[in-house]
Assembly symmetry: C2
Homo-oligomer: 225 residues x 2
């Protein structure tokens, strides 16, 4: 449905904390998330109660809410990373590359580097199906998308030295996120029908490129294009 928000492995990249207390806390958190994800995949998000998750993870109900304010957060625990990625994409662009083009190149780079954010495979299908099967999860995806659009709007305006409320930045960010959302859906749809990751990636990039043409035209005459 949208970006890959789920943590696939246990703190793969972050340094292992020396603190025993912190280590335990992270382990508990990861355990709850893993157990919950498995149950959601098996029976659908809406047919798993928080009580069941708590029991299956062998913790108290309150502990679950202690780590994850919303039930949905147990599935989407990587949205902050997505935000940071998009901020970084702008900062690390080469000199002379306009922000909108930078995001297009970023999409191509993610695909080339086989980033889990644009993974169209059998593995991601379970994820997509789980989300599609729940109104609550789809609502959360929409909310995250909007939050990211805000972040991108601010990052865009910042990158060209305009006010964070710049209407052009808001329009650019909204069109960008709309494009990416359609592109991701198209990628997953293509994989589902053709069972071919290569084709799915091509479909994803085709939509991104098409949307980018539109973005550049809409923002022509501004520093964003």
């Amino acid at each position: 449905m949208c970006t890959q928000y789920k943590n696939p492995a246990i703190n793969s990249d972050m340094a292992i904390p020396t603190d025993l207390r912190t280590r335990k806390r992270l382990a508990t958190r990861q355990n709850i998330s893993n157990v919950a994800t498995r149950l959601f995949f098996e029976r659908g998000f809406d047919h798993v109660t928080v009580d069941e998750i708590a029991a299956a993870a062998d913790v108290g109900r309150m502990t679950v809410f202690n780590y994850f304010p919303r039930k949905e957060d147990m599935l989407f625990d990587r949205d902050e990373e997505a935000r940071e990625m998009l901020r970084e994409a702008l900062r690390q662009r080469e000199a002379g590359v306009a922000p909108i083009e930078a995001y297009r190149l970023f999409a191509h780079r993610l695909v080339a580097e086989e980033s889990p954010a644009v993974d169209f495979s059998a593995r991601s299908q379970g994820f997509v199906k789980t989300i599609e099967g729940s109104e609550t999860l789809k609502a959360r995806v929409r909310a995250i998308r909007d939050e990211i659009a805000q972040v991108v709007a601010v990052a865009l305006s910042e990158s060209v030295g305009r006010e964070p409320t710049d209407p052009d930045a808001k329009l650019a960010a909204s069109l960008l996120l709309a494009t990416w959302a359609v592109a991701l859906i198209q990628g997953h749809m293509t994989f589902r029908h053709r069972q071919d990751t290569k084709e799915a990636k091509a479909a994803f990039l085709a939509v991104v490129d098409k949307g980018t043409i539109g973005l550049k035209a809409a923002l022509a005459g501004t520093p964003y294009a």
Copy 2:
């Protein structure tokens, strides 16, 4: 925040039904909706319980849910109209006008005809503030926007004789709704800062026109542009 979904007057345009049973039903429905809207405006959506609404409208709690499956529906009871308007905009376009341009002209027509859908005034501010004050309502706005994007995608593909799953139609619809959403927000923001309906409308149309340029560029070479 987004389109005007609230019914301002009691069934202003539809024929008064002869049936007493039907008349009563509609009156009850409208009464609940009015009472609820007043309470939401006064105290904020999240600080009004369904029980309070039922009591204030002098009906049972179950009656409320009988008419409005969701609490939010008491505020947004015109979204079906919005869908139909957007379908009609395509059907009634003049010969030779491409779908994307038709939607741009439609926006201008709505403004010229002072449609409540693009009302930027003191009256609409209460609405916008109520929505902004509640995560639940914002989530519902996003959901309706997505539903409308689906409707528009189907209407678009239909209007040019393509499959309803046409990726170009989906991209066009998503970019269109993103543009309109930003345009509406910009219109309301402008009114809030300048207290000038004329300026707000100009701001709204400026964003629509800018977005349309992008849409045409993105969909160039397809029958939609």
